[in-house]
Amino acid sequence: MNMPVPGAPAPEIVTQESLLLGAAERIARIRDGRIAMHIHLSLLRPQNRQEGHIRIALRMLEPMVNAYRGQMFLLGNSDIVFMLKEPNPVDVENMVFKLRALFSKDPLTYADSGDGRDHFSTMYDLETHYEGFLDLARQTVADAKKRLKAKSAGGKEMQNLDSKTLGAVLERLAAIDITRLIRRQTAIVITGQGNAVSLFQEFYVAMAELQKALAPDINLLGNRWLFQHLSQTLDLRMLDSLRAMKLTERPSTFSLNFNLATAATKSFADFEAGEAPGTQISLELSVLDILADSRGYQALRPQLRERGIGVIIDNLNALTLRLMDIRQFDADLYKISWSMEMREAEFGNAAAAALMSVPTEKLLLARCDSEDGIAWGLNQGITRFQGRHVDAMLAAYTMHHCDKAAACTLAQCIARHGVVAGPLRLECGNHAMLDSAPVMRAPKPKKRQEGL
């Protein structure tokens, strides 16, 4: 390798993309019987195209590429491109089918694109469509350069939480006041009369803010188990903050995103004892947490019922509904996360069918960021909702009735509803309305259609 000369233009970096372009150019005169395939893994949802997924996809393709004396390239955006010499078309078809099946829970593989094109893979017959393939190769090189530039401008990458950094993070967590990181969100229930009434307020810690305050350069969610460990301490800190929280009136409902283990602590018992009689406290538990200590859950469940503490199973989705019988949790409420996939007939109908076995008054559709979710839920007979769209409804209603509303925007009102302390809250001129739970008009729920 040549020594870099100061001031000289940066040497051309060899990337998979540049190798692809080189290969595409070399092949120009020997195109007979060759094909190329572009697998658009970059279009998958981020959670479906992690390192492991891509590694497995490459592994699946390897034998075929070797068998047909081909070449394979993994692009920086996770797309895979490979070229084959005189392959058996059935083999190629089968392999792409297999690969597609592996990613079958991602909308990319089943969603109807509307234009009749397959967005998962594109095949190039190099005899007839060589130019198109060459364009593709050139395009990937240009994209890679852009990515590289963006990356070097973006600074260093965050490190994942590990056991060595966890200790320091925990120490820092013990030292900071997390009250300003606490967020609240109202869940509503739509009554038969078409009124939307506050069901409860959920209190939780804003992860992005926590990240900034605790360890800006460490990805706290980068290690699931270590984060779970961290969250146990976080729960206790949050209980301290909730007790000290100053609102115009004490909330009559608390829905708390806690670990199962927290429910058995003295801190939680103290919190419970400190609230006014009649205050409705609910725990939002994750499936993971319950499965990790089912014995603890089965023992705690009757105790909580006796103490009048509600049990909510958080973060259920179409997949959870498909793979398990959620009724076994014997919870008071099941929070189903709305996602755009549920609009797709295949996904949505399956989810709706799975929900049929649960009484609608035990269902809440969460993460309704747009009206779509609420519309879908109402169609299933669901009347309990939570999400950014609900926040907006609530803020709009507040502004309609608030005498100080002229000075504010809807976005400001939404943001101020979401916090319990700090400058955002101080900007609001009507704390009484901010902390109150109004009754709003809402679309009427539909009766559930049996026998879906």
Binding site: G52, R59, G167, L226, H229, L319, Q328, D330
Partner: protein
């Protein structure tokens, strides 16, 4: 150390200690005192496991070794004593001599790779097992027992003193200290260097039908957490922080995989199961492992995934499952107990096998939600359910009554050992 006549004070002290904690030494001593007038027709054998290398005399080795004589104990033909230095003393009636000899042969075989036995082609064979004819050698056995009891007491006193010192100076690491992130980090570092091959264990998953002897279906390869703890962090209570422990197992799984990748012997010659995390299944270590396995072998390899890991990210699980199935592996969900069973629907999860942890509560036949356990097993598929951690015959009886045919655990190991003994006996008679 010289041995005078047993004085009163010593006896008193021994008695007092025996009352406090009946150690093997004290039990042996007491038993020998009782036998003083019944020496006739009795023999004893001393198996000096203490001479073996440390890796060969871990708890389970000693347990299995002592278990060799268990059937004779049940037939009231003798008494077995395990001493704290791992030596085993078996005192027996002369009529059982042949069985005992056979047992000692088996033990020699079991530890034959240990230097003590490997080099001993007859001449030194006496050191591993010492025989006593009580009518003649009573005193020497008694002296041995007294010496052992004294040494044990001394050790105990030292331990207590040591413990007191530790308490006094309040060292950061004490017995039962909870696992902290810092320790976890050290342990993870140590795992990179530690020789895990020594800690690798195999346990059979067996088909047991009726009273027929167990038939091994496959063997689980795993790292003994107890040994690991002993070696790396003897004073830490790993159960104190379940999530940190989970992180540790993930690191461990990965290490096991690279260990298996290094082995070119036939450790993974099929009919085995290994523990894996979903993330590990998608790792390059696993792909290397997969490369080293003959395609025809994959169908006989079971990948065990922890229930927590599966439910932590169902999407990732589905992906990993489909990949593993495509390669021909079978998947087993591990760690399902009576409390979590209602959440684990084998068919919906698309999993091949379910490992149900034995719990004496199962005798009542109900799950915590009131549903019938038998029905659950029927739905799971009796031939796809493995009742694991079976420590007693009760577990097997209870499992069989509900249709389960696959079992794993210490008691199953005992049954296999018993069957081996029986076969050997038959073989010898035929000869």
């Amino acid at each position: 150390m010289a041995f005078g006549p047993v004085d009163r004070a010593t006896l008193e002290r021994q008695k007092m200690i025996a009352q406090r904690l009946p150690t093997g030494e004290n039990l042996l001593l007491e038993y020998l005192h009782k036998l003083e007038r019944h020496r006739r027709g009795r023999r004893a054998v001393l198996i000096r496991l203490s001479l073996l290398q440390a890796v060969n005399r871990r708890e389970h080795h000693v347990r299995i070794a002592a278990g060799t004589f268990e059937p004779l104990v049940k037939q009231l033909k003798g008494q077995v004593f395990t001493l704290s230095n791992c030596d085993i003393v078996f005192v027996f009636k002369e009529t059982a001599l042949e069985d005992v000899e056979a047992g000692v042969v088996r033990l020699r075989f079991m530890f034959s790779d240990d230097p003590v036995l490997a080099g001993a082609a007859g001449g030194e064979a006496g050191t591993f097992a010492d025989w006593f004819l009580l009518e003649r050698d009573y005193q020497s056995l008694l002296h041995y027992a007294q010496r052992m009891a004294t040494e044990e007491r001394l050790r105990r006193t030292q331990d207590l003193a040591q413990e007191a010192v530790e308490k006094a100076v309040s060292r950061p690491v004490r017995r039962g200290e909870p696992l902290t992130p810092l320790m976890l980090g050290k342990m993870e570092d140590a795992l990179v260097r530690a020789d895990l091959a020594n800690m690798m264990r195999r346990q059979a998953v067996c088909a047991i039908v009726g009273h027929a002897p167990p038939q091994a279906v496959f063997h689980e390869l795993f790292i003994s957490i107890a040994d690991l703890r002993e070696t790396l962090l003897p004073n830490v209570n790993l159960a104190s922080s379940p999530w940190l422990f989970q992180q540790l197992t993930e690191t461990l799984d990965r290490r096991v995989l690279s260990l298996l990748n290094k082995h070119d012997d036939r450790t993974v010659a099929g009919d085995v199961s290994i523990n894996l995390n979903v993330q590990t299944l998608l790792s390059s270590e696993f792909l290397t492992f997969d490369d080293n396995i003959k395609a025809s072998m994959r169908g006989t390899i079971v990948l065990e995934l922890q229930k927590v890991d599966i439910f932590a990210d169902l999407g990732a699980y589905m992906f990993a499952r489909d990949f593993a199935h495509d390669r021909g592996y079978r998947i087993c969900i591990d760690g399902v107990n009576i409390e979590s069973a209602p959440f684990v629907d084998r068919e919906r999860l698309g999993i091949d096998l379910v490992k149900l942890v034995w719990d004496p509560l199962m005798v009542a036949g109900k799950l915590p939600n009131g549903a019938s356990l038998e029905e659950y097993i029927n739905r799971t598929g009796p031939s796809r359910t493995i009742l694991c951690r079976c420590d007693t015959q009760e577990a097997i009886d209870c499992g069989q009554a509900m249709g389960v045919t696959l079992f794993q655990g210490r008691h199953v190991e005992g049954l296999i050992a018993a069957e081996l003994r029986r076969q050997k006996g038959v073989f010898r008679r035929r000869r």
